[in-house]
């Protein structure tokens, strides 16, 4: 896993609530047996029409809207446990997702792929949406700042996961190093 670096970037606004993982990546695109290439079909049915043409009004297709940070409405990532949703977001080029509320499984999947999820209060989320500014995401200090206004918030992340992200460690290495303890548990 790559180390998470401080991110300063414009953001892509998706002010929609309950964005489920079927919207992030529809089931018909889950047929691959590798982790790569899912970004192409990120938000497929919101992004392209039936004949495969871009839907102009969708935010990813708007000229000048770019960034490494996706900002979405509450309950982002609900529904299916498909990790392909996190892979698609990362593959597209996002490093951070900001929302006021994340679904549990998505949150784990994101963090397991080095994708930082930042939960902020509804009021601050609204401030972000109405700003036209870069955001500064500092994992070290657990701070998210709207660059233009200087408004900022602390966000929470589990200390263990923070370590993992900052150092690029993954859980599997950790578990493999604990095989002895696991064997001891089994023989109890």
């Amino acid at each position: 896993m790559k180390k998470f670096e401080k991110t300063i970037s414009h953001f892509v606004p998706l002010p929609i609530e309950h964005v489920d993982t079927d919207q992030i990546i529809p089931a018909r695109f889950l047929k691959a047996t590798t982790r790569e290439g899912f970004g192409e079909n990120l938000f497929r049915d919101w992004r392209y029409d039936k004949s495969g043409d871009e839907i102009e009004s969708f935010v990813l297709n708007k000229k000048g809207v770019k960034g490494e940070i996706l900002v979405a409405g509450k309950n982002f990532g609900c529904g299916s446990s498909r990790e392909h949703a996190a892979w698609a977001i990362v593959d597209y080029g996002f490093k951070v997702v900001v929302s006021s509320f994340f679904a549990d499984i998505f949150k784990n999947n994101a963090l397991n792929n080095g994708l930082l999820v930042v939960a902020v209060d509804e009021g601050f989320l609204e401030q972000i949406f109405t700003s036209d500014s870069q955001l500064i995401i500092d994992l070290e200090t657990q701070n998210i700042t709207i660059k233009g206004s200087g408004e900022s918030r602390q966000f929470s992340i589990n200390p263990y996961k923070k370590e993992c992200l900052l150092n690029g460690y993954d859980d599997i290495d950790y578990l493999l190093n604990n095989r002895e303890a696991i064997e001891a548990f089994e023989s109890k």
Partner: protein, 471 residues
């Protein structure tokens, strides 16, 4: 001082903690790991990259379900990518010595249907699968939850996952169910009350007289949809109903072993003084046949009821959310669904494809004919359910009513295979998700019970099953 009582959830979780990381998650030992073709290939590839073998291959069981055709399963899968995924699973299982109930095997079926019916799922266990509806297995008094592919790799590599212990919620349903109301209506009602995110961060224990009186199949339907309110899982304390179901199942303990197991399981139910972080109580009497109108499972109403008036919703963002859903579904604010024309019905999925569900459908359609406009997918949850439906004459009843029983798989619940609802069409479905395009691009899903789905198939429009039952 007497120690504080423990919940069913605490008892199982605490028994399975290998180690707690300071300020971090627990290393949780997993008793049974279920895998399928869609969320496992990248996990096996990861193991290969690390040069690691499967730690406990005897604790993982595999089947092919998400991406398989429901017709002509004896022939090679036509679609190349689907075939490759299923072949990759077969190959991975062979390499690592994992039991696979693949296509054509008499035990093949939807992973959450075969686990219980084979007696693999047992009280007190921890179980995971790369599928959010793993919560189904909680019906047996086990901790069962869905995981992502990185976590599948963790379990393959170490038989453990790193998890933070969730909070505990109890939902009690008192009283007796009304006529025509089944467990699917209970869970749709609960989600409509506490919303699609109301359970996030929690594991939910379902309790109360109305839950106690349910069969195992009905309990599975309830736990299955715990994830649809955001809860990682749901569970129900094991009791005589649980033990009677397990008796004689292939991998369940037998004879003296079973007696011993039951003695141990009997200590699992939550202690009387156990404390939950959150509690809800509902009355069974308030629950009627339910249906969803929107694009998340929390948007449910009585089949006989009216859609919400958008202007009456106080919360601005919820107002927007409902408005967007109604626009997608093509429904008018404040209107009624009853009598609305529908051309598709899907009866199946890990929520409602067990023998009891098919019996319910047969009971409604027996001696009747499906409406001309209706196209129906009736997909049993497993080869065993399929065989039993044939043995009980259910397939004959369905056929006489103009339906066909297909072969087992997840089918039109997520439309990964060719079973898709066409764009713009409504489908009354016994599955678990009504997300935009879930059953095929542009499809419009209305979630309901098998009784409501069957009644709709007969009427050709959204029907209150109670009016068919009274005739």
């Amino acid at each position: 001082m007497k120690p504080q009582g423990k919940t069913l959830f605490d008892k199982i979780w605490d028994e399975h903690v290998v180690k707690s990381i300071d300020n971090g998650p627990d290393i949780l030992y997993i008793d049974k790991h279920l895998i399928h073709e869609v969320t496992s290939p990248q996990a096996f590839a990861g193991l290969k990259r690390r040069g690691v073998s499967v730690f406990r291959p005897d604790k993982t069981v595999a089947t092919a379900d998400h991406n398989v055709p429901t017709l002509n399963q004896h022939l090679p899968i036509k679609e190349a990518l689907s075939r490759k995924q299923v072949d990759t699973l077969t190959e991975n299982c062979k390499t690592h010595g994992i039991t696979l109930y693949g296509l054509g095997h008499p035990y093949q079926g939807i992973v959450h249907v075969i686990g219980p019916e084979l007696g693999i799922t047992q009280p007190g266990m921890t179980m995971v699968c790369g599928d959010s509806h793993t919560s189904t297995h909680g019906a047996f008094g086990s901790i069962a939850f869905g995981i992502g592919t990185s976590e599948v790799e963790m379990v393959l590599a170490s038989q453990c996952v790193l998890q933070h212990k969730p909070k505990k919620m109890r939902i009690t349903i008192d009283g007796e169910l009304n006529h025509g109301v089944v467990s699917k209506d209970i869970i749709l009602y609960i989600i409509s009350q506490i919303t699609a995110q109301g359970g996030t961060g929690y594991f939910v224990e379902f309790a109360g007289a109305a839950i106690r009186n349910l069969s195992m199949e009905a309990r599975m339907t309830i736990c299955n949809m715990s994830i649809e309110m955001g809860a990682r899982g749901g569970l129900i304390a094991p009791d005589e109903t649980t033990y009677a179901y397990l008796k004689g199942r292939e991998f369940a303990p037998k004879g003296e072993e079973l007696d011993k197991a039951i003695a141990a399981w009997s200590g699992l139910p939550s202690d009387e003084d156990a404390v939950f972080d959150k509690e809800y109580t509902f009355s069974a009497d308030d629950i009627e046949p339910m249906i969803t109108y929107g694009t998340n499972p929390g948007m449910g109403i009585k089949v006989s009821g009216w859609l919400p008036e958008v202007k009456d919703i106080d919360d601005a963002s919820e107002q927007l959310s409902v408005e967007k859903s109604l626009a997608y579904m093509g429904f008018e604010s404040g209107s009624r669904l009853l009598g609305h024309s529908v051309n598709y019905v899907f009866i199946g999925s890990c929520t409602n494809s067990r023998i009891e569900d098919l019996r319910m459908v047969a009971e409604v359609v027996k001696g009747k004919k499906k409406a001309e406009n209706i196209k129906a997918y009736i997909v049993p949850g497993s080869k065993q359910v399929e065989a039993q439906a044939k043995a009980e004459g259910i397939s004959d009843i369905l056929e006489a009513a103009g339906f066909e029983l297909r072969q087992p798989g997840c089918s039109a619940c997520l439309a990964m295979n060719e079973d898709k609802i066409p764009a713009g069409e409504y489908c009354v479905s016994t599955s678990n998700r009504n997300f935009e395009g879930r059953q095929g691009p542009g499809s419009k899903t209305l979630l309901a019970s098998p009784l409501t789905a069957a009644a709709t198939a007969i009427s050709g429009k959204i029907e209150d099953v109670r009016s068919l039952m009274e005739r």
